[in-house]
């Protein structure tokens, strides 16, 4: 018969053996997640792009956070459908080490971008993209194109075209170490406690 601490330790070891993250990735796979295994992820290219205030923003500023990097344009219908979801994600996961970064490829620049992001209440950072940034990320010929970047600055998933909100959310939760129901994985939500 196991004592309580030994029993809890056994459960932790069992979870560890099966892979805590595999539980969350099972959830993610069920929703067509494209999260790559860690050893298959490549470094997300660095960029330096201007935000609405003219400030230069670099991807490296987000090291340590999970980032949803979304290439979009105001004339792109599927992009406009996704953006309110990103507003929700930013609000929900910001305090967990998550950030959304939008990169607009509008030729007309901020005169096109600002009215739209104001209209839908974008609460995340939007940058004006350029050909170089698009090239660095594989050409970005089609919009929306979204990269999910892990805390180490590596591309964990790439999505070309419209993706369901559930898929994005599963991937974000997986990389943040959260279960779909909101429970954390990786860091046990309970402690061994005194007998």
């Amino acid at each position: 018969m196991l004592t309580r601490p030994a029993f809890v330790l056994a459960i932790l070891l069992a979870l560890s053996a099966t892979g805590c993250n595999s539980t969350s990735s099972t959830t993610a796979q069920a929703a067509n997640s494209k999260i790559k295994a860690e050893d298959q992820r490549k470094a997300a290219p660095e960029f330096a792009l201007k935000d609405a205030d003219g400030r230069t923003v670099r991807l490296s500023e987000y090291k340590g956070k999970v980032v949803l990097l979304n290439f979009w344009a105001t004339w792109c219908g599927p992009c406009r459908l996704e953006m309110p979801w990103f507003v929700d994600f930013e609000r929900t996961y910001k305090n967990d080490g998550f950030a959304v970064v939008g990169v607009s490829l509008d030729e007309d620049g901020w005169s096109a971008i600002k009215p739209f992001i104001t209209e839908i209440g974008v609460n995340y950072r939007v940058l004006q993209g350029d050909d170089m940034a698009a090239e660095q990320y594989g050409g970005v010929e089609s919009l929306p194109t979204t990269f999910i970047i892990d805390r180490e600055g590596r591309i964990a998933a790439t999505h070309v075209g419209l993706v369901s909100k559930n898929v994005f959310e599963s991937e974000i939760q997986s990389l943040l170490g959260k279960q779909a129901g909101g429970l954390r994985f990786g860091v046990p939500a309970f402690h061994l406690g005194a007998e």
Partner: protein, 143 residues
């Protein structure tokens, strides 16, 4: 990200234009030219009168020795897509745009060239391509 490879066969975009036939016109008279556009399967372009203000319209413009009297776009179709709340005014498949030209009475007689630009923005059911422009050359003979 294999789509750009497919598009490379159509001048960098899903829309191609059949080279229009040469036209002849007498000075002071009118003539019509047809431009046949072919759009790849699964794609649509916004029509010349998009149903949403944020959409980029398809537009044909001309420069050259003839005066443009009018451009007749085909009747758009209204189609519903997963990303749109309402049906959108679009063109799909093959469609023809007709332009009515007039040769000014003072035009120089002889061969010439009208240069057209067809600007469009295409999407499929879940993604969109940046706006592109197809260059069109229309040989003309003014008599």
């Amino acid at each position: 990200m294999c789509l750009p490879f497919i598009w490379a066969q159509s001048s960098g975009g899903p829309l191609s234009v059949e080279p229009p036939a040469k036209i002849s016109v007498r000075r002071g008279e009118a003539v019509e030219a047809a431009v046949l556009a072919r759009l790849g399967k699964g794609f649509h372009t916004n029509s010349h009168t998009p149903s949403e203000s944020y959409l980029i319209p398809l537009r044909l413009t001309w420069t050259g020795p003839l005066k443009v009297a009018g451009i007749d776009y085909p009747q758009p179709v209204m189609e519903k897509y997963a990303f749109s709340e309402k049906p959108l005014s679009v063109f799909t498949g093959d469609f023809t745009i007709r332009t009515r030209f007039e040769a000014p009475a003072t035009a120089m007689s002889g061969p010439g060239m009208m240069s057209g630009k067809l600007r469009y923005q295409a999407c499929n059911h879940d993604s969109c391509l940046p706006p592109k422009t197809v260059d069109i050359k229309l040989p003309v003979v003014i008599q």
